[in-house]
């Protein structure tokens, strides 16, 4: 492993990769800073661009956008009280109050410093924990792979705990869409309606782009909102200069919050929002010098929130890269990006494809340093981005998504597919459906079906395949984890509702 890491440093530190890190991080910060645009959308739109690039810089680009967007969300949270990404909702609470007190620069500095520590901890965890977990996945046969697919789908319960039924239907819709095309064992065609285009299945990337970007464009135009950052706010950012000691201002808060973020990230479905609220709660109770200031514009709260939600970034990639279980929506999309490059999660990724995955992780580590530099010295410029008129932003996204969908295979049908999924996503969002369960079903469906088909061939039928799972320890552990993953969010939601009633 150490040898792979040393070689990866050599492979990651190329002029092209560094350029990709700088550009990807800046782009991610811009995407995150713009309210309404999410890291998921940014990564989905960028997949076609990275598809044409070499694998390592392509993956580094996706990682850079992911980390940049996670931090970027705090800029609009601090300045506008509008979280650019869901994960920065907790930052808005204290960050914006700091802005109102005339401490916008301090809030933005703290958010980038804490994001850096959170991201750094998550990159280190990714570098050292992922290979260990990948080794463990060597023990997995078809039954375990099928069960992993099922376990991956159970994160729908956490993502859609407010309305589990809609999440489950979305998941089944995704699984149904994954059935379209040739079946993996017999080669029979399913649900193609006589079209040649559907024989190879639903085009994953155009579908992802459509589901995540088109509804946001329509919402942007329909809401007709113009976000205004006053010039006073922007001027206050540049008033005082940054001091180096600010990077180490709250070491315990950075450390504890980052660890919370990493652990929450590894748990499929938990997400950055939960991590930041948990980190704030922990810091307030155990670490803060002025806990009474929390919620009133506390710098310590901003530090905890941002270290927590950026700690999730690398953590969420650990189960995705090693087991094929995406920890959140962005890692599900990144998994799609890996799969179209012919890379499949698991132990082989860390052995046969070590020349790709380790440089990617080192690139991910590098992103954190550039995020710190860009965030510290460019915060004022990134803040100006939130003044960008929404009409230009909307047309820009439509143009990029159209070209992106077309570029995958130089095929106009992919563009049509993207629009079909776009309108489907919009209509479903309007009746309270989230796109992520559909994406999870679409991605995990084929993995689950392949595992089940292989297991049924070995054991002589689907019934036997399921029975054989009960005699395999890893399968049993995964069944237990799946049940926990399904039940825990529902129970947690009910307890919360009961508490609120009281």
């Amino acid at each position: 492993m150490i040898e792979n890491i040393l070689l990866a440093f050599q492979a990651a530190f190329t002029p092209l990769n560094i350029l990709v890190v700088i550009a990807g991080t800046a782009l991610g910060i811009v995407i995150g800073a713009l309210p309404g645009l999410s890291a998921s959308m940014g990564v989905a739109v960028l997949i076609p661009i990275t598809y044409g690039m070499d694998t390592v810089p392509g993956l580094i680009m996706l990682g850079a956008v992911y980390c940049g967007a996670t931090y970027g969300g705090s800029i609009s949270a601090v300045l506008l009280n509008t979280p650019g990404t869901p994960g920065s909702a907790a930052t808005a609470q204290d960050g914006h109050r700091m802005t109102q007190k005339g401490l916008a620069r301090e809030a933005l500095t703290e958010s980038v410093v804490a994001s850096f520590w959170g991201g750094l901890a998550s990159s280190i965890a990714l570098l050292f924990l992922a290979p260990l977990l990948a080794k463990f996945s060597l023990k997995f046969g078809p039954q375990e792979k099928a069960m992993l697919g099922i376990f991956g789908l159970t994160i729908i319960a956490s993502l859609c705990s407010k309305d589990l039924l809609k999440g489950v239907i979305g998941g089944f819709l995704g699984l149904l869409l994954a059935c379209v095309g040739l079946d993996p064992v017999h080669g029979d065609t399913r649900f193609t309606f006589g079209t040649l285009y559907l024989t190879s299945g639903v085009a994953l990337i155009p579908a992802l782009i459509g589901l995540y970007s088109i509804p946001q464009v329509i919402n942007m135009v329909v809401s007709n909102e113009k976000h205004i950052v006053s010039d006073d706010m922007l001027n206050s950012i540049g008033k005082n200069k940054f001091r180096f000691k600010e990077i180490f201002q709250y070491p315990r808060i950075y450390l504890d919050s980052s660890i919370i973020g990493v652990l929450v990230g590894i748990l499929p479905g938990a997400g950055a929002t939960i991590a930041s609220f948990l980190a704030i709660d922990h810091s307030k109770k155990h670490l803060a010098k002025e806990p009474e200031e929390f919620g009133k514009g506390s710098r310590e709260a901003v530090a905890a929130s941002e270290a927590g939600n950026n700690g999730v970034t690398g953590g969420a990639l650990i189960p995705m890269l090693t087991l094929g279980v995406p920890g959140n929506a962005v890692s599900a999309i990144m998994m799609g990006g890996l799969m179209i490059k012919g890379l499949y999660p698991g132990s082989e990724l860390f052995t046969k494809q070590a020349g790709i995955v380790y440089p990617f992780i080192i690139g991910f580590l590098l992103v954190q340093f550039f995020m710190l530099i860009e965030g510290l010295f460019g915060a004022k410029w990134f803040a100006k981005i939130v003044k960008l008129p929404s009409n230009f932003l909307a047309v820009g996204i439509v143009v990029l998504t159209t070209v992106g969908a077309f570029a995958m295979a130089n095929n106009i049908y992919d563009v049509i597919c993207m629009f079909v999924f776009g309108i489907l996503g919009y209509l479903l969002n309007k009746i309270g459906f989230d796109s992520t369960p559909i994406v999870l079903g679409l991605i995990l469906g084929s993995i689950m079906e392949q595992g089940l088909a292989q297991a049924s061939t070995i054991t002589g039928g689907y019934g036997n395949a399921f029975l054989s799972m009960l005699s395999r320890p890893v399968c049993l552990a995964l069944i237990a984890l799946s049940v926990l993953s399904l039940v825990f969010p529902v129970v947690q939601n009910k307890l919360r509702a009961r508490k609120q009633k009281k």
Binding site: L175, D188, V222, V395
Partner: protein
């Protein structure tokens, strides 16, 4: 339209979709059937549950005369159709007219239609900047054959 009615229509669409897919699955070969059946029947079962829940919610709302909850701001519904219609037209023009003409036209016209606040020359300028970006990033850097269209420009 009332949110509950929308949910009911949505539930009906899901039931129809999974029901139709169940019918199609029955015509598949025996080897493919078990897994596909599990998926479509599962989807159908939960869609039926959703249908019942939506119907009950609608009846309760009718009795209580709950105020209508709007999912689209009033007067802005037409923008859903305009935005989507223009995007599809752009997608088709992109292929048949080529990326240069279609992008400049789409950016200029649609951005102006949505918001007329900027100076008029800004709209085509943004279109041209986007075309240059597409040319260098996709055409040159990523070697994507961008469509030249019937006029063969690009």
């Amino acid at each position: 339209m009332n949110k509950n009615k929308k949910e009911l229509i949505g539930a009906l669409c899901f039931v129809a979709l999974f029901g139709y897919m169940t019918l199609l699955t029955s015509r598949l070969n025996a080897g493919v059937k078990p897994y596909t059946f599990t998926i479509v029947l599962g989807g159908l079962l939960f869609s039926l549950l959703y249908l019942v829940r939506s119907a009950v919610a609608l009846m309760k709302a009718n009795k209580a005369e709950v105020a209508e909850e709007k999912t689209v701001p009033s007067g802005r519904l037409k923008w859903v159709f305009i935005t989507f219609g223009c995007a599809i037209l752009y997608g088709l023009a992109f292929y048949y007219l080529g990326y240069i003409i279609s992008t400049v036209l789409y950016v200029t016209l649609f951005a102006y239609l949505v918001d007329k606040d900027a100076k008029k020359w800004v709209y085509p300028l943004v279109g041209v900047v986007l075309v240059v970006f597409l040319y260098f990033v996709f055409g040159r850097f990523l070697n994507v054959m961008l469509p030249k269209g019937i006029l063969n420009i690009g």
